[in-house]
Each structure stands twice: as structure tokens, then as C-alpha cells.
Symmetry: C2
Subunit: 319 residues, 2 copies
Amino acid sequence: MGVKHITKNILVTGGCGFIGSHIVDMLVKKGFYVTVIDDLSAKTDLRYLNKYLEEGKADFHQISVQNYDDILSLDSNYDCIFHLAAQPDVKLSVSEPRLDFETNVIGTFNILEYMRVKDIKDLIFASSVGTVYGEPEVHPTPENYPLKPISNYGAAKAAAEMYCSSYTSLYNFNITSLRLGNIFGPRSTHGVIYDFYHKLQRNSKELEILGDGTQTKSYLYIDDTVNAFDITLKNLQEGFNVFNVSSEETTTVIEIAEELTKILDLSDVNFTFTGGKRGWKGDVTYSSADISKLQALGWEVKNPFSVGISKYVEWLKQL
Amino acid sequence: MGVKHITKNILVTGGCGFIGSHIVDMLVKKGFYVTVIDDLSAKTDLRYLNKYLEEGKADFHQISVQNYDDILSLDSNYDCIFHLAAQPDVKLSVSEPRLDFETNVIGTFNILEYMRVKDIKDLIFASSVGTVYGEPEVHPTPENYPLKPISNYGAAKAAAEMYCSSYTSLYNFNITSLRLGNIFGPRSTHGVIYDFYHKLQRNSKELEILGDGTQTKSYLYIDDTVNAFDITLKNLQEGFNVFNVSSEETTTVIEIAEELTKILDLSDVNFTFTGGKRGWKGDVTYSSADISKLQALGWEVKNPFSVGISKYVEWLKQL
């Protein structure tokens, strides 16, 4: 299996978002010139990008991946594309399936078509580890486990991967799909920790928990996630390759609530539960990924959950 | 696992096409009232439907599954939908990816959305057995083998199945995906047998074979295929279920050429080869599906390849 060396220009879709903006930081730091496209729809703006624009280390185009003509107007001199632009909300994918479909399926198809037409060969795609497998019978779940999503978000990421597979084979692309776990950390403005923090800000005596609180998942701190992209780029393999990017540590929702109240030094918080096994329709109740494939490339989780959540809360306090 | 009983109205998308029109025959014969939608784009017309329209046993709307507003204008009193409308050409999916994507991915998504909005719960989806697995390492390949398509046609069918999975889980649909092998027989106007027949009509001394002729696949006669849909409808199971619909018999392209020249009583036909392992980009070189799951429902292949091809040639001669 050959390894490709990417040296110069990188296009990052969704580069103003939570994960995308951290990846831009990493890429600029490594000396890449970064072009960011983002439609600024997901409560995002240029706050993390501005200094790179001023320093001439990046440029920006307000473009939605849904708009193929706009994408086609971009240059074609990118050595690699990081495709992170996505509708990120699993709940919303259930209530607004077409909205999610248009960004996450058509958007990814548009990026692949753009690459085909412009002869760009290398792509790192941000997929999902917690939603594409649905409710697998094998834990931790390996990458080659059959996909059977139970949310439209998961279906969209899995559908996009099917095209990553065919485009790799047909047009000699090199695509790495990183199936990301529940990523959290500074700049994230959604997810269970974010929600709990703000609920407790509003009422430090009571915390409503969606479902019965026993939902068990892996959570991965943003720095470890960015490191996975860095290692993937350094080891960009030929063909279509998939890696789970998650933690071996699993955490229940109740444990998150307990950890958070401890960090915030709150006592006597009354936990209430909306009930049912799932937090919402399409919520996976147990998710644990086999991460040995990425570990074999030298990647490791450096921030256990308790460390990550403390760092994240420090950031949330400054908001 | 509960079994549903469908009694009255059935919607067939792509009901003027090769497989769709045979399914309409079967459904009308069984006493169902059939509504057909078809955009008549794939060299099709109303020739097989007209008598049912005259007899008041069916109705027809010229609608493309790509046009969601047109689909929404349909009634909602369908007990079950057979979704067969598709761009059927694997080769074309490689040269015209968006054309294939719009019909086979967006079109299927539109049907699922229509069902969700109109509260229709039961769907039988025509997927593909020869293209969704790509080049699997297990033969015959079972339904739960991971999907890794090497053509956009296969990617589209696999992507559509991902949404069948999530919609089933989220909205209490019952979806059966029938992964069809290489289906042939009367009314089919594409495929290797059709192509060889017409090449030999033009020149009975020489036959050009795409690839090296060793591509090995299963071919299934149309009557056995229709029977699979019939048995599926009778045993419509709750949840998302997938069945391979193919033959245990595998045939090489050279064997097809030999069988056909024998039936046509041609001697001394010179076979020439375009060379390479694949017939075209995205062509799967070896495909053999495990069909034991459908056999367990009482389905069986009644027409061996030699019988099926003879019947098909009889029909081709009358064209």
C-alpha cells in the first residue's frame, strides 16, 4: 500500500465549524496554505479564521457544498481536500430529513464530482462512528462491520461513504473516511456536555436528562481528533480506507452529568429523566468502536474523558 | 417477526420498464389494483400497460421520481409501493454520475419522503446484488456482507438502502430490499445477451466480447424474479429486510456467447475480445450471491440459464 505525500495547498470544507476550524489551525501550523469554504450556516463565522486571512496563510469563500456551480468556480490546485462541511445535528436529520440529505449526501456528491472534473485525487472525509453502524451486535465495532443506520444522519454519512468507495475505484481517488465519535471540546456549541452546562447555568438545582441516562457512548476530545487527521494526512494511503476515530473509554449520560456537576462544584443537583432508552428518535443507545486500526498508525488517545471535559468546561466558562 | 397482509392498492414506480411491467402483470393477475408511475425515459412506453388501463385494473401517471412535487400529487391510499424506477445502466453511471445519482439516490429518497409524509408504511425496493458488494472476498456472498461498491450504480443502490434502513427504524416502515442479480428475459432491451444477439444479427461470423470474457456472474430469468417479488409480498416482514435474488449457477461471458451461438445454430463464429479483466470501468469480474435466505421462504430458481436464454431468444426473434 503506497503512501502519498501532500505538500502544499489544502481545501477545507466547513472550515469555520467546530472541528473544521481546529483542523485549519493544525494545517496552517504545519505550513500548508489553506483554502476554506463554509456557508456560515451553522452558527459559525470567521472568528477563528481571520488572523490567517490577514497573514496570507489562508483564503475564504462563502460557498455551500449544496451549490455545485459555486464549487466548480473554485481553483483546482488542491493537493488534498478535507471534507467536513455537514449538517451536524442527528436530531434535526430526523425531523428535517431533506435538509440533512441535501447537505450531507448531495453536498458530498458535489465535492466528489468537483474532484472528478478537476482531477483532484485525495480526500479525507469526516464520517461518523456512532451512527453508521446503527445498533451493531459486536462491541467494540470494527470498521468492516455492515452498516445499518437508524438515523438519517447516519444514513447520509453511510451513503456518502458508498460513493467514496465507487469514486475511489473508478477514478483512482485516494479517500480516507474518518468515522468520528462524539467529538467535544472548545468551539463546540452543541452536544450533551454543552447542553448540560447551559441547563445548569440556568438552574443549578435540577438537570433534565434525555432518555433514561443509560445511553453509553465514547467521547473524544478535539485535540485527539485533530491529531487523527494529522496522522491520516501523513499516512495518506492509496485507495479507499476507513478508520474509526473514537475512544476505548465509554461513558453513560448519567456519568457525564455527574462529572460535570463535580467540575462545577455543584451539590444536590436533582437529575430528572424524560424516560425511554433513547435520548431522541434515532439515538443510538450503545456505541463503542474498535480503534485498533488507527492505533496501528501510531495514533493514541491522549486526553481521557475526565481531562477533556475539564478543559472544555474551562472554555465554556469564558463564553 | 410479524407478517403483513397487503390486500388492495399497489403503487409501482418504473412500471413500464422491463422488470416493472412484468411485476404489474403479476399484481393485476393476483387481483390488486395497480397504479403505475414512469417517466418513460428508458425506451419504454405503455405497450404492456394499455390493456389494464382499458380494463380499469390500473392507472398511470407520467411522473419522474426525481420530481418530488409530482410524486406528492399522488394519492396516499397505497397499501404497498414497489419501487423499481431507476437508471438501469451500470456503464452510464460511470460516465454520467449525476444522472444516475439523481434518479437512483434522489429518486429513492423522494419516494421515502413521500411515504413518510403520506403515512405509507410498506415498500419493496429493487436493489442490486451484483454491484453493491463490489469485489467481495466471500462467495457466494451473503446479505450481511459489508457493501463496498466499485460502480456508481452500486453506490447509488447501496446509498438508497442506507436510507431504507434509517426510515424503517425512525418511522416504523417495513421495507424489503431485493438485491437483484443480472435479470434477463422478454421485454429486456439491454444487457449482454441482448447485445450479443444483435451483434450476431448484424454479423454472424464475428462476435466482439467486452473484456477477456472470463467475467463470471449469475443470471436470473425474469419469471423467477417476478416470483421473488410475489413471495416477498406474501411474506412482507416487519422492519428492514434484505434478500439476494439471484441464481446459484454462475456463467462466464464466453459461455453466454457459446450458448447463444448454439441456440441460433451458428457455427464458426469468431470471438474477439476487447481485453482486460473487466467489460467496462466499474464492471464486477466475479459475482455470486448466497440465496439461501430467500430460498428459506420457499422461493426457488425454476429456470436454469440454458432454459431462460432459449425463452429470451424466442422473444428476441419476434422483435
